[in-house]
């Protein structure tokens, strides 16, 4: 256990964004953007400190960062804990949040009159709230605190979905809320059962006492189903496309790139850290089968979309599918007594590269909409002329989604593919390849259409500021260059983690 003053950074990572929300609300008016951007800058420093600290211990003892709140150690109290998975997610989310903030600088500017307006206040406060809630999801070591974190995330996401105020976005927001509430209730139900059975909600303690018995199995099933509804895994995805496509571009980027990852991360925690010895390979296969269906269905429906934003939203449905392929791969390897680390690393890379690439794509779509005044895929000509950087970003982000080298998506798929072959589950590899093929079709269509020259005399509807394009490009470039992480000397993912095969006990 490492509890140095630096561990207090975990508390700050959660509370700093929320303090920003409080001050933003209090000061309000035209200053909310300033408050938000200041908070983002401070938050970046905090996350930087955590990463630096983690890298320091990583080369040394290799233990997770822990913080026991109020000095009351679990099971009575609550502890925060950041292992490699948490640190990576903290970092990825911080990058996306700050670049989205840069992008949104002009879109949610204070009103000229100096009077407070609705959309900027809500956007900036909810951006901070999403950040704080996600950080809490990543570092919380307690199942009930995680429930509160899930609800915070939902309450921060719903106003962004409905930010536009039109009837259809309100409907999408309400549907999203109902799905999400059922999801968190099922999660809570599972947590209640676990407390009834083992008398603790602390993840570390629970993982030591949980037994493969009917009660644990029921809890795991309920919690997983609930979280899948929140993650929008096929067939529980129907709420996602209208909710994500109807929001303003910057909000869509937050929702699609980040918010769905919160509940996904919890599935990962439950299966890999809380109850690895309860999980069966067939359950993992079932999860991956849903993922495979999501990949196929999501991509095919995406191909049939006429509007860019809906296409990107359906592409999220498909990409969420990928995130679940790692489950049977990792458990397959662990069952066979092999090292499951590459599968886990592959899955994490997939998540992070999707977060970066999807944020880039939604923001790019926003710029395209501003320039053209519409986002019909059939009529994208002139875009490359007006927005060269944005189209480059779109292509780079697309390349990462497809999995072209040296993108993060490539490295992720490479690791997952080799895990599939190694564990003798080639069919998941086949699904990945097919998904990549389908993805490449729509990415290709979008890029080619945007490259078409505009009609003579065509003028962009709005001139897009250069820095917005640069923010999008930075996101896409990070996704594209993420593959170079393979060159990194340390595997941060495994920081403070016990190999799965050890947790399960030798088969």
């Amino acid at each position: 256990m490492t509890e140095s003053p630096a561990s207090l950074l975990l508390v700050l990572a959660v509370l700093l964004p929320f303090t920003g929300v409080i001050f933003g609300l209090l000061i309000g008016g035209r200053h909310v953007r300033t408050v938000a951007l200041t908070t983002v800058a401070l938050g970046l420093a905090v996350i930087g400190g955590i990463v630096w600290h983690a890298l320091g211990t990583c080369s040394g003892s290799g233990t997770a960062i822990e913080y026991v709140l109020g000095g009351w150690s679990p099971p009575l109290g609550i502890r925060l804990r950041a292992d490699g998975l948490s640190v990576l997610m903290l970092l990825a989310v911080a990058v996306v949040i700050s670049l989205v903030s840069v992008y949104a600088h002009a879109d949610f500017a204070p009103h000229d009159s100096g009077k407070e307006t609705r959309a900027p206040l809500v956007f900036w406060l909810m951006l901070l709230a999403i950040w704080g809630s996600l950080n809490l999801v990543f570092v919380s070591g307690d199942l009930f605190t995680l429930y509160v974190a899930l609800e915070l995330l939902t309450f921060a996401g719903v106003p962004l979905v409905a930010l536009d105020g039109r009837g259809e976005t309100l409907r999408a927001a309400l549907r999203y809320l109902l799905f999400a509430l059922l999801g968190s209730l099922l999660y809570l139900l599972g947590a209640v059962l676990l407390y009834g059975a083992y008398g603790t909600l602390d993840i570390q303690l629970l993982s030591q006492v949980v037994r493969p018995e009917a009660l644990s199995w029921a809890a795991l099933a309920l919690m997983t189903v609930g979280l899948l509804a929140k993650t929008a895994l096929f067939p529980l995805h129907i709420w996602l496309p209208p909710a994500h496509a109807g929001a303003p571009a910057a909000a869509s980027a937050l929702l699609s790139a980040l918010v769905v990852k919160g509940s996904w991360f919890l599935v990962l925690r439950l299966w890999f850290d809380v109850m690895p010895n309860v999980v069966t390979l067939s359950a993992a296969q079932l999860l991956a089968a849903l993922g495979a269906a999501a990949i196929i269905v999501g991509n095919i429906v995406a191909l049939r979309q006429l509007r860019l934003k809906l296409l990107i939203a359906y592409s999220t449905v498909a990409q969420i599918g990928y995130l679940f392929l790692m489950f049977p791969l990792a458990f397959g390897l662990a069952f066979a007594g092999m090292d499951s680390a590459p599968a886990l690393t592959g899955g994490m890379l997939q998540t992070i590269s999707h977060a970066l690439a999807k944020a880039a794509m939604f923001l790019a779509a926003g710029l395209i909409y501003l320039t053209l005044g519409h986002d019909r895929i059939s009529d994208l000509r002139g875009v490359a002329q007006a927005l060269p950087m944005t189209v480059t970003a779109l292509a780079l982000a697309g390349a990462s989604l497809i999995g072209l080298p040296p993108s993060g998506g490539f490295l992720a798929k490479w690791l997952l593919l080799s895990a599939a072959l190694e564990s003798g589950q080639w069919w998941w590899g086949a699904v990945m390849l097919l998904g990549g093929l389908l993805t490449s079709v729509y990415v290709f269509i979008i890029v080619v259409r945007s490259l078409a020259p505009a009609e003579a005399g065509w003028m962009p509807k709005t001139r897009v500021p250069q820095y917005q394009q640069m923010a999008v490009l930075a996101l896409a470039l990070s996704a594209f260059l993420l593959g170079l992480a393979a060159l990194s000397p340390v595997d941060l993912v495994q920081l403070g983690r016990t190999p799965l095969s050890l947790l399960r006990g030798t088969p």
Binding site: R171, L177, P248
Partner: protein, 116 residues
């Protein structure tokens, strides 16, 4: 049968009832109500578990009871947000249907403005 088991079983049935209501009612307000029934069932189950944990001179385990208070408040906030959203939807569209809008709405019409 002891008190905890009795209320635990009652809670299981409440959760099932709520789930059925949530899945079958088309009216969003009924769905919100059903979610509240599910929530109450979960809380009651947790209460039964707390009651089983009576020890050290306490009539019930206070940790779940404290968590329940948090849970009830969170559930209320969720209901309030959902109701406000529903009323706003009614105000804007004159309807409360959650059904998918007709496929034509997915096509681009130049009059709508998805974002700016």
């Amino acid at each position: 049968m002891n008190t905890a088991t009795l209320f635990g079983l009652c809670a299981s049935m409440l959760i099932g009832l709520g789930l059925y209501g949530l899945l079958t009612h088309p009216h969003p307000l009924r769905k919100i109500l059903a979610l509240n029934v599910i929530g109450s069932g979960i809380f009651l189950l947790f209460g039964a578990i707390a009651f089983r944990g009576a020890a050290a001179g306490m009539n019930a385990d206070p940790v779940p009871q404290a968590l329940l208070i948090t849970g009830i408040v969170v559930a209320f906030s969720a209901s309030a947000l959902a109701v406000a959203l529903l009323l706003r939807l009614f105000e804007v569209t004159g309807d409360v249907s959650l059904a998918n809008e007709d496929p034509a709405a997915h096509k681009d019409t130049s009059k709508d403005r998805p974002h700016d």
